[in-house]
């Protein structure tokens, strides 16, 4: 049987993760699913907790996300996006749904529409993954932190300013600088 803790296992490279999702899609491969679970589960938990969710709620959303990974594996297209990007979009959509249901408990979950990629968009998918990772690595540690924060949390810039004890103007200008740098790096490599 497979173990649920991630520490004993090395981080699989991107191609390996994509192959694992495809194995789940092709033959309901549970070993492959367990490997994906070990890799993404604990990271997803941190990801949700950084967005101010309790540990218990984060675990619930990890389960929902991984269940979707199992059920939707056949929709995954490795030419279009890396496995990490695909899992991220599933987690993001479930978080949007969850926050909405919190406000409107009677409402049923729904999936935001998925736009089919144009052929051209598909072709550049793999190359895009590498370009974006290089751009992120090219940012200073502080700029990386600002970009990460905007993925974790819905906090507005003014809340972030209050939390960090720095003026709102400083948060705004740092965010703008980080975005400008990111844009320059992304366009550089196009």
């Amino acid at each position: 049987m497979v173990k649920a803790d991630g520490d004993a296992f090395p981080v699989p490279p991107a191609q390996e993760l994509a192959r694992l999702v495809q194995a789940v899609a092709a033959r309901g491969d549970r070993e492959a699913f367990a490997a994906l679970f070990r890799h993404f589960g604990p990271r997803l938990k941190t990801f949700f907790m950084r967005g101010s969710m309790s540990s218990g709620l984060a675990e619930d959303l990890v389960q929902e996300t991984m269940l979707s990974v199992w059920r939707k594996a056949s929709y995954y297209d490795p030419a279009r996006a890396g496995a990490g990007t695909w899992v991220f979009t599933i987690a993001r959509n479930l978080r949007i749904d969850h926050l909405r249901r919190q406000r409107n408990p009677a409402d049923l979950p729904s999936d935001p529409p998925v736009m089919p990629p144009s052929l051209e968009e598909e072709l550049i998918g793999v190359e895009r993954e590498e370009r974006v990772r290089e751009a992120l690595a090219g940012l200073s540690a502080e700029q990386q932190a600002i970009i990460r924060l905007s993925y974790y949390s819905e906090k507005s810039q003014s809340e972030i300013a209050g939390e960090l004890g720095i003026p709102l103007g400083t948060v705004k200008s740092r965010t703008r600088l980080a975005m400008n740098r990111l844009r320059a790096l992304l366009e550089d490599e196009t």
Binding site: R43, W70, R103, R128, E129
Partner: protein, 217 residues
Amino acid sequence: MTISHHPTDETLLRYAAGTLATGPRIVLEAHIAGCKACRARVAEFEALGGAVLEDTEPTPLAASALADVLALIDAGEPRTSTTAQPHKPAEIDGVRLPDAFRGCDIGRWRWIGPGMHMSRVRVPQDPDANIIMLKVGPGRALPDHGHVGTEFTYILSGSYTDRLGQFRPGDIAEVDEDVEHQPIVDPDQECICIAAMEGRMRFNGFIGRMLQPIFGI
């Protein structure tokens, strides 16, 4: 459709991160669906989200977490996330709205001033979403209003001009709270646009007094 005004990168990142409020998200979706450049940007920011997730340090899960999910898989629970009913396309005056507005309730046009009508767009999944449609006659000014957060306006038909430029169908105007602007509809035809804001909206002057009781804002 020639698109010349786009959302900022900061906003597209928040769209891809899933942290925008429902109203702005839907209005942006209308633009993005018709804008190849912004679709490519969003794909990049989604890939960036993937990179951020992969770099996030792990937090141990409950010991039974994997077994619990495998049990759910074995139980073959009905799929919850894809059984949502297909939404009807939204229309007003027989004009079909972009797919982003599928399932929304479009109120009827209400007269709010000379050459000016407004309709409230309700999102059934999120009653808090703040979206309005405006139909303004040729040569007229859009309602004078302030807003506490960023405002996003998608142009559906016609065009208007303000000091930020001319806005045509498919364009999106992203306007910060600290930007002063007064859009005037171009003289050739009426302009229909859909606006959503992050904060509350406050109307000024005569139109404002007309709107407060109608919209309770």
